[in-house]
Amino acid sequence: MPWAEAFLNTQTNNSENLADSNERHLSYTDALHEALDLALELDKKAFILGQGVNDPIGMFGVTTDLYKKFSEERVFDTPLSEEGMTGMCAGAAMNGMRPVYLHNRPDFLLLTFNQLVNHASKMHYMDEGHTNVPMVIWSAIGRGWGSGAQHSQAVQGLLLSVPGLKIIMPSTPYDAKGLMLSAIADNNPVVIFEHRWLMKQNGYVPEGIYKIPIGEGIYRTRGEDLTIVGSSHAIALAQIALDSLAEEGVTADVIDLRTIKPLDEKIIIESVKKTGRILVVDTGWAMGGVCAEVGCLVAEKAFEYLKAPVRRVGLPDSPTPAGFTLEQYYYPTSEKIADAIKLTISNDK
């Protein structure tokens, strides 16, 4: 799809900080590739599977040629069978392996909810902690280029209330690598949602093993006027929006959740106590899901500090249209987020 490739290049937020040229920079996909490479090297129990992981392109470049280095036993293509393969991963994980199962699109996870929600997330609890299920399910949200209703969904919100599951949504190459390593090392089922619009982004990525604690958010910027909470590509958009308001003197705490489950309540509440205002941004539907959870949380636990209504920017309550023009109306843009920021700071109680 030539136009899609071209499109991706223009949409990518190349916010690479070139100031410190001594730093080692990698693209988001390369960072992920490095994480997988290291994990396979380090832990003989780790293995990688998924439709297309051994393709010439290799899952957007994330798995390219890993099978050549580590053998097709440890990096292998699968039958479609998403539900069966997810259960297979759970079973292998319960027996000491560390599977990492990659999907092109989160839409395909909807085939696997029985194994993911009814099984993998519950096994540890059900047998009183005797069984661990250290598996990673990875998928990349496909926004734009005509993906349409069945190939574009950001379904993290559907999984948010599932006990026993961890959910990761990295926004930088640094986090993509560090969180992947943490996820593989974690003894629980972990779902990672990447975003295709982040994939060509470059950024600082240290060599070797490092891990980012699962369940901890991070301040991307510090400011006074409001708190912006989000993750993944929504954070990139929020930062552009905030930058566009810099001239007007608007500053914000921008919190990148990085993990949406367990949710870092502490950092959110700490910030709202200071700013008194919150805008939640997410790549998924605004109704239900992450926006709703964070919004409710703040109204529950930081109510006395709130100076303005909670606001959320996510997808409208409709399926994704396939066409380019409709997509422009459908998706939140940095402009729409800037508007929401202005509303949030203007609207005193």
Binding site: W3, I57, P79, P321, G323
Partner: protein
């Protein structure tokens, strides 16, 4: 390396004289038209105006055309992501299709579907899914409705070899056999799922149609570069279904001559042999039928050229129609989330 060899017999066992010249011309022309449309799409895809993920049927047209011709106009079809051939063969409107590919308001789905969701209920192209095997249970439901309403309508459902790796496929097959549903399972076995060959996904020791047969369905494997074989087999299956004889499974073996998605062939990347692609070029379903018809003096170059010229005009017009059509408006975005 030629991993997947052609195992058919060409037209050597086919008695082309059984068929009227008119029918043969229609069938051949339908294939040529689909090929020309897709080749035009291909040639313009790099212009980045068709912002939709396409999956060309080039090499596999005989399945679309043969099956749809064997069905009645009032019969219904359902399709996987590889829609173009099925949509056109069933009588879909080319202008509406091109508008859909160009994301225009007057596309057959108003720009909500794109290439993977070419739907036109007025001609019986009822629905599609971009989720592999997702359309199969839905087609079963259509067959159930036909049966419950006693409509005598037969349902054809198109899907790839990889769809048979999805559990829902087997759930559907079981149900269709159990309820004797009037449905024809049209497996398009092209040996690949994206870049993954069949033998990395299903044990090489078993044929797809044999697995289906094991479930208790009448199942056949056919050389689907031979359009008349497809036609004949589907005709029989449709007849049976219409008479309450229940479902049939047909494994249509043909080769995808282009890449999985997008324009052009992607075999240089190494997932399949260039010689394999070459070997199948030689048994292109259009050329083989054309030659057979020429050998029987049923067609000549002039007639073909004439048709091609007319079709090129039609295609140019459809493209022109599409690019000059309006984009959808913002206020249409939230329409049709719910039905009234």
């Amino acid at each position: 390396m030629v991993k997947y060899k052609y195992k058919g017999q060409g037209y050597s066992n086919t008695d082309i004289n059984k068929y009227s010249k008119e029918l043969l011309l229609n069938l051949l022309f339908s294939m040529i038209r689909i090929r020309m449309i897709e080749e035009t799409i291909e040639s313009k895809y790099h212009e980045d105006q068709m912002k939709s993920p396409i999956h060309l049927v080039i090499g596999q047209e005989a399945t679309s055309v043969g099956a749809c011709a064997a069905l009645k106009v009032t019969d219904h079809i359902y399709s996987s992501h590889r829609t173009h051939g099925n949509y056109l063969a069933k009588g879909g409107d080319l202008k509406a299709m091109m508008s859909e590919l160009f994301c225009r308001a007057n596309g057959c789905c108003g720009s909500r579907g794109g290439s993977m969701h070419l739907i036109d209920k007025s001609v019986g192209m009822m629905s599609t899914s971009a989720i592999v095997s997702g359309i199969v249970p839905i087609a079963n439901g259509a067959a159930m409705a036909s049966k419950m309403k006693n409509e005598g309508r037969v349902i054809g459902v198109f899907f790839g070899d990889a769809a048979m790796e999805e559990g829902a496929f087997w759930e559907s097959l079981n149900f269709a056999i159990l309820k004797k549903l009037p449905i024809i399972y049209l497996c398009e076995n092209n040996f690949y799922s994206v870049c993954t060959p069949l033998d990395k996904r299903q044990p090489a020791s078993v044929e797809l149609f044999d697995k289906a047969a094991g479930f208790g369905i009448e199942a056949k494997q056919i050389d689907a570069t031979n359009l008349l074989l497809v036609y004949e087999t589907v005709l029989e299956a449709a007849e049976k279904a219409r008479n309450g004889g229940g479902p049939t499974f047909i494994e249509n073996v043909a080769y995808r001559l282009r890449g999985h998605g997008g324009a052009g062939d992607d075999s240089k990347s190494g997932y399949r042999g260039l010689d394999e692609v070459d070997s199948w070029q030689n048994i292109c379903p259009i050329h083989t039928l054309q030659n057979e018809m020429k050998n029987h003096n049923l067609i000549d170059e002039n007639t073909i050229n004439d048709f091609q010229n007319r079709t090129q005009l039609e295609i140019d017009e459809a493209f022109h129609h599409a690019v000059s059509s309006p984009n959808p408006s913002e206020d249409s975005l939230m329409q049709h989330v719910y039905a009234d």
